[in-house]
Amino acid sequence: MRFKVIYFMWALLLLPLSFWGCSNEEDSIRVDFSKRAEMTVPVQKDAITYAYLPQYSHAISYGRHKLLIEYLSKATGMAFRQVYPNTFDEHVEMVKRGEIDISFSNPLIYLRLAKLGARAFARIVEPSGKPTFSGEIICRADSPIKTLLDCRGKRWIAVDRSSAGGFLYPLGMFLENGVTPKDFSDIEFAPGPGGKQEKVVLAVFAGAFDVGSIRQGTLDLLKDKIDLDRIRVLQRTRPYPSWVYSHRKGFSEEQAKRIAGAMFALDIRRPDDAVILNTAGMRGIIPAKDEDYDPVRRLVDRIREQDGGLMP
């Protein structure tokens, strides 16, 4: 009996050792850290550079246009590489330096690119089904603001100085209705980079600003994040030509044609194409000319006369 007790106690004492054994059972891999080498990033292959004006984050840009770029590579047999400028200005600069061959930009930036020799060759059909889009002035649903004139003395948040739908078009409409930038108690731009359209909606929603200006279609992006009933669209601007594809100055016209051809061949009614187009946030790509953007040029000119230096 006494021996049994002693054995039992030894067993209890040895029990923790079994745990100890379990804890060390993980095997390690021997790695020699002494073999060192300097790492060099391989040289980029020669490819047509494609850039999406960074109104959203790079990831969104990548995600939206990856399939389209792959399609273009396949359709044209040419190598494409998407590049990611951090800001609108950098985008413009890269086009100017020849680092972006194909630009997908808003009309306002296109006007700047056009000045640098870029030429429009295609524009998109918006998700609304039209090759145009508008800007929207929004306020909170419970706001006392009923007309554009009520916006005087209020705080305004816009997307960016270079934003067409998010600033330029609403500004034009304000000016047409006799409300100048000076009438606002404060005009701010959404902090960047990326997600600037959404930030405007959220700022108004939170009550940080009385009115906000956004591109048409932005509210749909936020339907899962906020209660849209609490946001009211005060007024929508007249439609302007949609986003535009342009190639830089000096880009091969022949290549531009092949690219345009591939773009135009996309048909929303074809399932494969539909995936590409929907992912890229468009319903189709149609031919475009530089003259299509003259209304925008005129708007800009007019604003420059009145805005007091707000336009870049």
């Binding site: 106690m9 790695v31 020699d32 002494s34 080498a37 990548y62």
Partner: protein, 677 residues
């Protein structure tokens, strides 16, 4: 193990238990802590890696190496146990890393993240430390644009675990020390009480039954229950709790059958050791009571034994217990003294070696018969002891043991020599009675011829003239014939005892009549009669003539015993309570020798000369007194208190030892005379 002191065992046991618990706790904590910390570190590393992967998306896309470098450096700097981090592009090219002096190329192959896998963790060993390597994909949607790798020091994690374990070990050690201390304290307290119990038990063994092991009850039951039942066994006993006192244990006064809810029990009960101590006390008490009872029983038995021994030793009979071989098992003092030994010396010795050979008691064959037959044997034997022939009555009784078998024989020997002599006397008396009857018959037949002889002799005397020589012869015939007639008359008196005529008579008068008659002739022979008669004049129912004959006989014998003269002291006493009157006649004569004194009442026994007495006087007196329902006894010499006073003028007379005759006669209870007494 058994030789280790109990306190040491308890101390060791407590220490072992705590040590075991401490070891178990420490190891369990170590193992679980290590697991939890490692798991947490893995989660942390994964989060850091995933965070880095998220933040690396834009810089990868924009090929912003500076930002990537900043990112990996930030991760490296923020996490103290982050050994390295680096970012690879889709093709596996390292875009940014935290290593200085070149990148360890083997690291690339150490943890290759397969496509479609979200995480891969590998434990790497670089020869100095262990590293958890986390590989996380950099994704945009379903597309993987690169990989983030993060190295987390497993050694640092272990260091953290060790830092946590140190206080645990410290606390365990401190607990162990405290437990050993408290265990020793506890053990010494327990063993002190056990030692007290042991000392108490030793006291019990050495006979100290009064030792008290348990503490006295803190409060007494009769005080708690306000009980006035003084006859209760527990009442007034403040040395032990009442539930250990017989008479109160089974039934509570307040009706409950169990002590466990009684307020007395709740107040006075203690732990198991106190219970044990109380049980010890109860045991000692019971033992003491039993011992006292035993002692009393022993004393009673000893008393009985002493009594039995006294009875046995007091009896003059010889009592002994013999076994089959004739060995003496026990004997009384009388027999031991007869054997010339002390009782203790005699026990165990064969009886045949102690008795003379040929002694009728020395009979082995009789013992054998006894053991075989089992019957009581009753015998009278004649033996010679100290040159005296004795008659012994021997009774042998078989003694049976508990099993019913005969184990020994009890032999009782009684000296019945005297009884035997009485038997002889009885036979002699019967013979004398027959002789008396025959003598009476003969006397009656002889009386008539004697009368005729006397008558003719007297007629012849009348016929013969004086001077005739025949007259002398005739006178001799006449005289001798008258002697014969007296003898015959005596014989007739002796044989005519039942024919006496009884009447109420004055005892004193009967005596005085005789004394008056004989006083003068006696004084001529210088025999003086002194009377001391009871003046209450007792009356008896008797034959006056016969009684006078008795008195004359006694006085004549007294005179004959005093040839040189003397004093006869006559005293009568009425002993009314006994219903008798007693007459004592004491003389100052020569007395009777011890050999003769038993025969003086025998007929024809006489110490006188041939012509001086017939030897019938005392026999006749004896018969008369007995026929009156009385008794006559003789003492010689006379007891001092009864010795006659010597008259002043009788100094020249020689006084002998004397003889005292005491006659007792029943009083006459029928008449009024008695009432007058």
């Amino acid at each position: 193990m058994d030789k280790i002191r109990f306190s040491t065992k308890i101390g060791l046991g407590t220490s072992l238990i705590v040590l075991l618990a401490a070891v178990l706790l420490t190891f369990t904590f170590s193992v679980l802590g290590t697991r939890i910390l490692v798991d947490e570190s893995k989660k942390h590393g994964r989060v850091q890696a995933e965070n880095l992967a998220l933040r690396a998306v834009d810089p990868i896309l924009s090929a912003d190496f500076l930002q990537l470098k900043d990112l990996v450096d930030a991760v490296r700097n923020v996490g103290s146990n982050v050994v390295y981090s680096f970012v690879q592009d889709e093709a596996g090219n390292v875009l940014a890393h935290t290593f200085s002096n070149g990148f360890p190329v083997d690291l690339l192959k150490a943890n290759i993240l397969p496509p479609d896998q979200k995480l891969s963790i590998r434990l790497l060993n670089n020869g100095q430390i262990l590293i958890y390597d986390f590989a996380v994909p950099v994704r945009i949607g379903q597309s993987r644009i690169g990989t983030v790798r993060l190295g987390l020091s497993r050694t640092d994690i272990q260091q953290t675990i060790n830092e946590l374990l140190h206080p645990v070990l410290g606390v365990s050690l401190a607990t162990l020390i405290v437990a050993v201390f408290l265990g020793s304290l506890f053990a010494s307290r327990i063993t002190r009480r056990i030692n007290d119990l042991r000392a108490h038990a030793e006291a019990l063994v050495t006979g100290d039954l009064m030792a008290q092991a348990a503490p006295k009850p803190t409060a007494n039951c009769w005080e708690i229950l306000n009980c006035k039942l003084e006859e209760c066994a527990a009442y007034g006993d403040d040395t032990r709790p009442c539930w250990h006192t017989a008479g109160t244990r089974s039934k509570m006064r307040n009706g409950t059958t169990s002590c466990s809810r009684c307020p007395v029990y709740l107040t006075n009960s203690g732990d198991e050791i106190q219970d044990l101590a109380e049980t010890f006390d109860y045991l000692a008490l019971t033992l003491r009571l039993h011992l006292e009872e035993l002692y009393e029983a022993e004393k009673a038995m000893a008393r009985q034994q002493e009594l039995l021994r006294t009875v046995l030793d007091s009896t003059p009979d010889h009592v002994c217990l013999l076994d089959r071989q004739g060995t003496i098992l026990a004997l009384n003092r009388a027999y031991a003294e007869f054997l010339g030994l002390s009782p203790t010396e005699a026990v165990g010795k064969p009886e045949e070696t102690l008795l003379p050979e040929g002694d009728p008691l020395n009979d082995r064959s009789m013992l054998e018969v006894m053991f075989r037959s089992g019957r009581i044997v009753n015998r009278e034997v004649q033996v010679v002891r100290n040159n005296r022939r004795l008659w012994l009555h021997v009774i042998r009784v078989p003694v049976r043991g508990a099993s019913g078998n005969i184990t020994s024989v009890l032999r009782t020997t009684r000296d019945i020599t005297e009884l035997k002599s009485y038997q002889v006397q009885l036979i002699q008396s019967q013979k004398m009675e027959s002789l008396g009857t025959m003598a009476g018959g003969v006397a009656h037949e002889i009386n008539t011829p004697l009368g005729i002889i006397l008558g003719y002799a007297q007629l012849l005397l009348e016929d013969l003239p004086d001077g005739n020589p025949m007259r002398d012869d005739l006178r001799i015939i006449e005289k001798q014939t008258q002697v014969c007639k007296r003898i015959v008359a005596g014989l007739l008196d002796f044989s005519r005892q039942g024919e006496s005529e009884m009447q109420g008579m004055c005892f004193n008068n009967s005596i005085m009549e005789v004394i008056t008659l004989i006083r003068h002739p006696f004084e001529l022979e210088r025999v003086y009669i002194v009377t001391d008669l009871d003046d209450r004049m007792p009356v008896i129912n008797g034959n006056p003539e016969q009684l006078k004959q008795v008195w004359v006989n006694l006085f004549t014998n007294a005179r004959d015993a005093m040839p040189g003269g003397g004093v006869i002291h006559v005293r009568s006493r009425l002993m009314r309570d006994d219903g008798i009157v007693q007459l004592c006649i004491a003389d100052t004569g020569t007395g009777i020798s011890p050999g003769d004194i038993t025969q003086i009442f025998d007929p024809f026994f006489s110490t006188k000369g041939v012509d001086e007495g017939t030897g019938l006087g005392l026999s006749i007196s004896f018969g008369i007194i007995e026929s009156h329902g009385g008794s006559i006894v003789v003492d010689s010499p006379v007891p001092l208190e009864d010795y006659p006073q010597k008259p002043a003028d009788q100094d020249d007379i020689d006084y002998g030892p004397g003889t005292l005759f005491t006659v007792r006669l029943p009083l006459d209870c029928s008449g009024d005379d008695l009432e007058s007494l």
